[in-house]
Symmetry: C2
Subunit: 335 residues, 2 copies
Amino acid sequence: MWSEGKVRIRDIADELGVSTATVSNVLHGKTEKISERTVKAVEKKLEERGYIPNMAAALLARNNSRIIGVVVNDHPKYEGHVFEDPFISAAVNHLSDRIEEAGYYMMLKKARRVSDAVVFASIWNLDGMVLIGFCEDDYQDLRDRIRVPFVIYDGFADAQERFGNVVIDDFDGGRQAGAYLRDMGHERVLFISDNDICMDHLRYLGLCDGLGHKAELMIVSMKASERESCYRERLEALKGYTAVFAASDQYALELIRFLGQNGLSVPGDISVIGFDGSREAKSAAPRLTTVSQDNFLRAEAAVSLLLKMISGTDTEKTVTIPVKLTLGESVRRIG
Amino acid sequence: MWSEGKVRIRDIADELGVSTATVSNVLHGKTEKISERTVKAVEKKLEERGYIPNMAAALLARNNSRIIGVVVNDHPKYEGHVFEDPFISAAVNHLSDRIEEAGYYMMLKKARRVSDAVVFASIWNLDGMVLIGFCEDDYQDLRDRIRVPFVIYDGFADAQERFGNVVIDDFDGGRQAGAYLRDMGHERVLFISDNDICMDHLRYLGLCDGLGHKAELMIVSMKASERESCYRERLEALKGYTAVFAASDQYALELIRFLGQNGLSVPGDISVIGFDGSREAKSAAPRLTTVSQDNFLRAEAAVSLLLKMISGTDTEKTVTIPVKLTLGESVRRIG
DNA sequence: TGTTGCAGGTTACGCGATTAACCTATTGTT
DNA sequence: AACAATAGGTTAATCGCGTAACCTGCAACA
């Protein structure tokens, strides 16, 4: 096998005439009981021979892994392209950085059910898991079977002993958008979401709260490929509103494009607010006004919460990340 | 630790009064020397007790890992957001599917140098690696130190014994774009690229070949945040061309947006062709004419090549994926 | 002189799965 | 009757590392 010739602890120990325990202790900084001379000698030899630990052996011995699993719901709405979704890929990007920073490794996996994630965790003796995009129902009967600490990055609201939870303030985001629209003179406001309402309900409630009255609701297909026809069917209805609050930037940008193709300008004819603060929102024309969440903060919160849970530190299990309205050019004052 | 109570092979064996070897053999389908009764009994018990293998132990014993590492060059041009890049995230998405399909697990990692990838491979006893975005120079003195089979998904052209290589036909892509532009009556054509020319040079040569004469070259910054000012500085120069071939869809779409903001329409005033065939190209307005590559095919080719190399099958080490010009609405006939 | 203490290690087992080598009882063969 | 062959297993070593328990020799102290 290709790994022939790899340097083991035993090799180092033999060449130096010390025991493997000594080498292992040096490697882990347990040098109180080792003379400075020996420490130096071991360190030198390790360097010289280019020692690289064999994680399989280490984790078998320690019964943990230094691996954090990031498991993403392979929801049909993505049509097989989850990792290409801007929100998901931003999450993966930042999680990857935080995980590496903490000295862990990342295994990335799509899964359709939470139970797959559980098996995954068990197979690899994962130290922790970050779950993205699963809904409350998905966790139902797994509560007791999940033995590894994990945090829900998105999509669940009830933190428990082994459940960490990082949420953004969806309600407040909706409220800010609503209040802003009201201040800009908008009354007839439409909320666009898909029927996976478990994610977006709070945004809707916040919107109504900010507006001071109920907004209308329009449900579109989750599947990107079907969405345009949803808009097309309801083009006339859309014309009845002065502003739209979309449940995600993606929906907002799609809508703007669609409206443009049908002779309606944004914000000239209709104002649009998105949700996420994605990179696309910043570079779109017109720049999208959107409720932005800080993915960096969110990933950081998720990983540091997870690490606390792994180390057994008692801690608040739910972390709420604030959002703020980022003004672009997609909302116009009217009235 | 949380893994207490996990079922081991030994538990199964003890409860059945057989040896661990027997259970292990059943698990691996080596049932020639085991009676049907015993096989059934073991299988039943495994099912019953919910046995899940401990990979750490298995891989220590077997000296491999069932892990494929996907290592992406954390190039400064991405400013820390590699995994959010459309091309990269599409690659990760498809690789993830192919890897899972083949019964392997994926570890995802950013790295700045190929040598980091080498250490990574060694630590985890990776069965194979897929490297994305590294340039020829990056591999220089590592050729001999890399012991794990790996394939280069993007960015290198010289396959060798342990190097697999999946490339797209950059030259032909450029040629197709050039020929099409010529047929549409364009003469003054600009090629836009960044200074990481190792990737784009063939596209440029192909373009010239297709056009039948040399195209002009414009180098912009690799960093997204600096690119707009690059365009701005050279706005007047841009006006001198009837068509632009951009080295990526991202550049093309940015340029279209920029031109729009400056009163130039695409394809009215300038025609634009991109490269990649990204999802954004399809949904942009106007739809982008682009040289598209099939990410599915590419990932499939990469993983199946890697698997062949892992299993020691002798095989052609370079796979070239064809590209084809996808017509959108961003090129106009002139003259 | 006998005892304690400590510095500086070493020994040896366990983690869970794999696998080559070995065993035993039964049936078949000459 | 003597022997071989086969079915159906079992035994025990091994992978590389971590770590609790155990040594050993010298200095200090009463």
